[in-house]
Amino acid sequence: MTVETAAGATPPDPELVQLLTPEGQRVPHERYDALIADITDDDVRALYRDLVLGRRVDGEAVALQRQGELGLWASLLGQEAAQVGSARALRDQDHVFPTYREHAVALCRGVDPVKLLALFRGVDQGSWDSVETRFHLYTIVIGAQTLHATGYAMGIQRDGAIGTGDPDRDAAVIAYFGDGATSQGDVNEAFIWASVVNAPVVFFCQNNQWAISEPLERQTRVPLYRRAAGFGFPGVRVDGNDVLACLAVTREALQRARDGEGPTLVEAFTYRMGAHTTTDDPTRYRLNAELEHWKLKDPIERVKAYMVRGDIADQAFFDSVEQEAEELAVHLRAACRALPDPTPASIFDHVYVEPTPDLVAQREAMSAYLDSFAEEVAR
C-alpha cells in the first residue's frame, strides 16, 4: 500500500503582494502603495546599493570558502530583496533575531561583514555587538531564535516601549526563519506565545522553497502565511524578490507591533538560488529548470530595470555601485585572510562570568602541556 503524501499537493499561488514585477514595472497596490509613498529616488538607489553589496559579500564569501579560507558559508543568493526590504523597514531601536543566512540584514544593521566571515571561518561564534547593532547573534539550531525574539518583545512591552506614539521610542522585534523552520515546535510555540501576550514581534519567514533537500510540501499543505490565522494574528504573503513590496509589508507589520497591536507573520516568497550551504549539492534533488525559472525573477535585476525605466539612475550610478562592491570585495578578501586564529587557551574564556577553579586548572594544564612542546623545540 502506498500512503498518500502531500507531494504535489501544493495549493495554487494565493494572493501575493507585489509592487514591482519581475520586468521592473511598478504596479499599483491599494493597500501597500501608501506604505512606500515617502520613498524617493535616492531611497531606491540606496536599496539597490544594499542589494548589490549584499550579493557581493555573499559571492565573495562563497569564493573564500572554495579557496579554503572559510569552513562553510550559507549563501543568501536570491534572497537579497527579502532581506534588504525587511531590514530597511526597521527603525534604529528595533531588534533583529536572525538565522544563519541573514547576511544582507546584517549589513543593513551596520554589522561588519568581516565578522560574518570570522564566524564561518571558525575563528569565533559571533563577535559583533548585538546590543549596539540590535542584530542578535546568528542562530543555527532551527527555530530557536523565534522564541528569543518573542521574549525580547515581551521585555519591550514591559518597558512600555510600544504604543506611546513616539517614533523614536516605540520598538518592535523581527524574527527571521525559513520555511523548514515552521515545522519546529519552537516556532509554533513562539506563534502561540506572541499571540497570547500580543507581543510586538514580526515573524519574517523567508520561504525559499527548500529546507536543504526537502521541498516546501514536506513541511506544509497550506501556504505558510495562512498558518497565522489559526494562531490568531494576521499573515501576509509578499513577493520576496520584490524589495519595495518587502519594505512595504514589513513596515506595516513592524508599525502594528510598535503600536501595540501584536504580531504578524510575513511570508516572503522567494527562492534559494544557490546550494543550501557550500557543502550541499542541489543537483541531487532539484531540477535546473526550477532555478532557471527563478532567475527570471531576480531581485536585483528587477530593481535595476525599474530604475532604468524610470530614469532613476544612470550608468554612472550603476558603475559607482559596482566599483564600491569591488572595493568591498578586495577588502573582505584581505581582511578574512588576516583574521588571527584564536589561541588555544582562549577556549576557556567566557564559559562562565567568572572562571571556575576547575576551568582555571584545566587551562593551566593545557598551557603547561603546550609549553612542553615549545621547550622541546627550543632544546
Binding site: 500500500m1 500512503v3 562553510l72 533537500s213 534533488y285 576557556f348
Partner: protein, 325 residues
C-alpha cells in the same frame, strides 16, 4: 570481502535490515531523495520507497515522537538526527518517552527504535555540528548507547541495533566516516552488540576509547611501539550498558589505564570507567586512572578544535603519566 568506508558500511547494514524485515523504516531530515547530508541513507528511498524511507518535516521532537507511535504499531523505525547538536529538540521525547515506555508499561510495551546520531568533531564545522553528547544518553536508564569505530563494526552493529527490542542510540563517528576497511557482507557478526573489543593487544598499559578516538589511540599505540612500549587498546563499542570485562582483564595485566574521549571530561564516560576500574582492579593499579578528553567548555570554534580534541600526543602524555607513579 568488500572494501567500504563507514558511511557505506552503515548504508549496507541498513539495506540488509530493510530487506530482512519489512517493518524497518528509515526516517529523518533529508534522508530520502538526498540520501542524508552524509549520504548514509543513499539510494534507500529509491529502492524501498517513500513509505519506508521518509523525508520528515524539520522537527526532531516530531521525528522521535512519531517513531514512538510507529514502534507501538509494530514498526522498527531508524531515526536519523542530522547532527549531534540537533538531537536536543528531540531530547524530551527520547528521555521521557522512548527510554521509559518499557518500564512504565510493566514490560508490555517495547520500543525497538534506533536513533542514529553522527557525533564528534574535527570536521571544521560551525557550532552544534561537532558535539559528543553520548553521556547524556548513557546516563538515562532504558536507553542502550553504542558507537562504532570502523566499517566492519558499523555494518554489523547497525543491524544488531535494529534487531534489538530496546531503544538504541547509535553514535556514528562522523570524523571517521570515510575510514575504509574490509567487510564480509555475507558473513555473520563475530561479536554481540553489547560487547567491547580488544582493538590491539598490548602488555604495558591499557588505553580505552570508543568511536572516533579509537583510531587516535591505535595511532598512539603504534607510536608507543616505536618507543618500545606496548599499549593495549580497547574499543568499548557499547556505552550503555558498559562492557568492561576486557578492560578489567587488561588492567589486571598492565596496571595502567588511560581513558580517552572527545566529550567533556566532567561526568563523562571516562569518569564511569575510572570509577568501576578502581572498584574492580584497585590492587592491580600502579597509577591513578588517567583521562584524556575534551575540556569542560562548549565545543570551541573550528580553528582551535585541534587543541580541544585529544590527539595522539595527549594520549601518549597520559600514558607517560601512568608510568611516572
Amino acid at each position: 570481502m568488500t572494501s567500504l568506508n563507514i558511511v557505506k558500511a552503515i548504508n549496507a547494514g541498513l539495506r540488509r535490515s530493510m530487506e530482512n524485515d519489512a517493518k524497518v523504516l528509515v526516517m529523518g531530515e533529508d534522508v530520502g531523495k538526498l540520501g542524508g547530508v552524509f549520504r548514509v541513507t543513499d539510494g534507500l528511498q529509491k529502492d524501498f520507497g517513500e513509505d519506508r524511507v521518509i523525508d520528515t518535516p524539520l522537527a526532531e521532537s516530531g521525528i522521535i515522537g512519531t517513531a514512538v507511535g510507529l514502534a507501538l504499531r509494530g514498526y522498527r523505525p531508524v531515526c536519523e538526527i542530522q547532527f549531534d547538536g540537533f538531537v536536543f529538540p528531540g531530547y524530551d521525547q527520547i528521555v521521557n518517552q522512548v527510554a521509559k515506555m518499557h518500564y512504565r508499561s510493566g514490560g508490555r510495551l517495547r520500543l525497538p527504535i534506533v536513533i542514529r546520531i553522527p557525533f564528534g568533531g574535527s570536521i571544521g564545522a560551525v557550532e552544534h555540528h561537532s558535539e559528543s553528547p553520548e553521556a547524556y544518553f548513557a546516563h538515562t536508564p532504558g536507553l542502550k548507547v553504542v558507537t562504532c569505530s570502523n566499517p566492519l563494526d558499523a555494518y554489523w552493529m547497525i543491524q544488531q541495533a535494529i534487531e534489538l527490542d530496546d531503544p538504541v542510540v547509535f553514535f556514528e563517528p562522523k570524523g571517521r566516516y570515510y575510514t575504509k576497511g574490509e567487510v564480509d557482507l555475507d558473513g555473520a557478526a563475530d561479536l554481540p552488540l553489547e560487547s567491547a573489543r580488544v582493538a590491539v593487544p598490548g602488555t604495558d598499559a591499557t588505553v580505552v576509547a570508543y568511536g572516533p578516538m579509537v583510531k587516535t589511540c591505535l595511532d598512539a599505540a603504534a607510536a608507543a611501539a616505536d618507543d618500545g612500549r606496548s599499549l593495549e587498546v580497547i574499543d568499548l563499542r557499547t556505552l550503555a550498558p558498559l562492557d568492561l570485562r576486557a578492560v578489567y582483564d587488561s588492567v589486571r595485566r598492565t596496571g595502567r589505564l588511560v581513558v580517552v574521549h572527545e566529550a567533556q571530561r566532567t561526568l563523562g564516560i571516562g569518569a564511569e570507567v575510572a570509577a568501576r576500574v578502581t572498584e574492580e582492579c584497585f590492587y592491580s593499579l600502579e597509577a591513578p586512572v588517567q583521562r584524556v578528553t575534551g575540556y569542560d567548555t562548549p565545543y570551541p570554534p573550528a580553528r582551535v578544535e585541534e587543541e580541544y580534541l585529544p590527539g595522539l600526543d595527549r594520549v601518549l602524555d597520559a600514558v607517560d603519566r601512568t608510568f611516572a607513579y
